[in-house]
């Protein structure tokens, strides 16, 4: 550590978020003796994060655009409550460079990477360029935005290809194209979606890896060039690019591949001069070859899986880095696999009816418990789930000394979890656990869709 260590301890942190992640951050702040400020919309007056924080302030009306996405209201709230830092959580403004800039310009610390890093890695084509320069494998593709000669570009890559929006995310503005005849139509659809969702219709091409796994590596980097990479998470169990189940370590990744993944992630993070915690996402082919997809420049929903496996508090690490503390964790400690962990995202959705959101009032709330069980949730009996926000109501995180024991424990937990008043995705998680391919660790990003088609067939 040659650079001078420059530390500014926080006294008060504002959490620019709601729901379980706001609680998650408040809990760590309490353990660090840092005061917390909750912000809330009019629809969240009775929310648990409002009750648990040291202070709470109403920032706007129920729709996110008038509250949790209102940069001016959030920065003002932080200023008037004399917070010295802002934690963005995940979703909402967590990957918004303008928000990070506004917080910094107002004289506070944004707990996350610099606005510049968010901007750079947020534009997927730039992120690919950085990866390529750093020697991190990327899927063959257009290496930048495609122009009028897109037919030639696609043919050079070879079908099937993936059309992706430059500013895309969450599967929007993304289309698979299997043959040249479909290219014009798919191009139009992807561009239309990109324009509608991100106000920008630029797209790029990537080779489509068939039956891939979604493997991601959690990283942490401090202000002094120290980077650590943790054991991978396997997030192949997705429905329409929305993760449902995440586990670590991946049942598919061996020790050698694990090391390669960690080295690749660390190289990329160093090359981007990234600071904070983040996640490098890879696609892994059945051959165990992997390709860089994107960097999530924030804390992720599934971070507790890694916390269980490495035994570290990632939110605490994130805050310490933002305070200017150097990382004390070595790569050997960070990469250690101490146990097997899995996360089930429990949403207030009707999985029997195309995962339709089911907001409503909870008449009963009895979360699972016992050895190796963690439930991160903002629910309580009598709470009314507002219809304005996402439908995640709980994260069930289970740990065990082996994958076999893990699946058994998960099954036990899902059976004992009681949620009354709203439909949840628990029955679907039970189906996943009963799936033979999943039990064998034989997963890919298409497995859930195949499971659902099988169900349709039985009806």
């Amino acid at each position: 550590m040659r650079s001078l260590v420059n530390m500014t301890p926080f006294h008060k942190v504002l959490i620019a978020n709601r729901g379980e992640i706001a609680l998650r951050v408040i809990r760590t702040l309490k353990e660090m003796n840092i005061k917390s400020v909750a912000v809330y919309s009019e629809a969240d007056r009775n929310s648990l994060h409002v009750r648990m924080a040291d202070e709470a302030i109403c920032i706007g009306a129920a729709p996110s655009s008038l509250s949790y996405l209102d940069i001016d209201a959030l920065v003002t709230a932080a200023k008037v409550t004399h917070a010295d830092a802002v934690h963005p959580g995940y979703g909402f403004l967590s990957e918004n460079a303008d928000f990070a800039k506004a917080v910094t310009q107002a004289g506070m610390v944004f707990i996350g990477p610099s606005a510049q890093a968010i901007e750079m890695l947020g534009v997927k084509s730039t992120a690919r360029e950085i990866a390529m320069k750093a020697g991190v494998p990327i899927t063959p593709g257009s290496n930048g935005i495609v122009g009028k000669n897109y037919h030639a570009v696609a043919k050079k890559i070879g079908f099937p290809i993936m059309i992706k929006a430059t500013l895309g995310g969450g599967g929007k503005g993304m289309r698979a194209c299997f043959k040249e005849e479909d290219l014009d139509l798919m191009m139009k659809t992807a561009q239309g979606e990109a324009r509608a969702n991100f106000g920008d219709d630029r797209v790029y091409f990537e080779k489509l890896v068939l039956n891939p796994r979604h493997i991601e590596v959690q990283v942490a980097a401090d202000n002094y060039g120290n980077v650590v990479a943790f054991a991978e998470r396997d997030c192949s169990m997705q429905r329409r690019h929305q993760k449902l189940v995440e586990e670590s370590p991946s049942p598919f990744v061996d020790t050698k591949t694990r090391q390669k993944l960690q080295e690749a992630a660390a190289k990329l993070i160093k090359a981007a001069k990234y600071r904070g915690v983040g996640t490098v996402e890879f696609l892994m082919a059945p051959s165990k070859e992997f390709y860089f997809m994107e960097v999530n420049t924030r804390l992720q929903v599934e971070h507790p899986v890694t916390e269980a496996v490495c035994g570290q508090d990632l939110v605490k690490m994130q805050i310490q880095i933002a305070q200017g503390e150097p990382l004390t964790l070595t790569q050997a400690e960070a990469g250690k696999v101490r146990c097997y962990a899995i996360e089930h995202r429990i949403n207030a959705e009707d999985s029997a009816h195309n995962f339709m959101p089911c907001p409503g009032t909870l008449t009963e709330w009895i979360p699972a418990g016992g050895l190796g069980v963690r439930v991160d949730s903002h629910m309580y009996s009598g709470y009314t789930i507002p219809s304005y926000y996402d439908s995640l109501i709980a994260k069930l995180i289970v740990t065990a000394p082996s994958r076999e024991k893990l699946l058994k424990r998960s099954e036990r937990c899902l059976n004992e979890f009681v949620i009354g008043g709203v439909k949840t995705t628990i029955p679907f998680h039970q189906k996943i656990l009963a799936n033979e391919d999943f039990r064998r660790g034989n997963t890919d990003t298409g497995l859930i869709e195949r499971m659902m088609k099988q169900d349709e067939g039985k009806k």
Binding site: E42, I57, C58, I59, G60, A61, D72, V75, T76, A106
Partner: protein, 124 residues
């Protein structure tokens, strides 16, 4: 209980203007209420109109160098300025939504306000 009796009584009641009918056999108790005797539904009207904070921020009664004094009891006309709420990048002007008497001033010059907080009450 005799269900025929119940349906007879209900049918009979439809031919009258009775609103309530209680009946007890051995204690000889009959209680009848007509439509007019029913209590009026309570009507809640409030003559006070609240002026709430349009955003989280700092309240200012007047711009620097200018003066605006607001005192409880004074009359205000619809559209009259009531100061403004300052955020880091915006100024939200407050005006009286109705004409009337400024009955209550809750906010103070330079005070922190959150979204939706009542700042004034005007009596129509």
């Amino acid at each position: 209980m005799d269900t025929k009796l119940i349906s007879d009584v209900t049918n009979w009641m439809k031919t009258t203007d009775l609103a309530e009918f209680c009946y007890e056999q051995n204690g000889n108790c009959i209680e009848i209420k007509t439509e007019e005797a029913l209590p009026e539904p309570a009507q809640y009207t409030c003559s006070l109109t609240a002026v709430t904070a349009p955003a989280v921020g700092i309240y200012h009664m007047a711009e620097k160098g200018k003066s605006l004094t607001l005192t409880e009891g004074q009359t205000v006309q619809e559209g009259d300025p009531l100061g403004w709420v300052e955020t880091v990048s915006k100024k939200h002007a407050l005006t009286a939504p109705v004409s009337g008497k400024l009955r209550k001033i809750i906010v103070q010059e330079g005070g922190v306000v959150e979204f939706g907080l009542p700042l004034f009450f005007i009596e129509k």
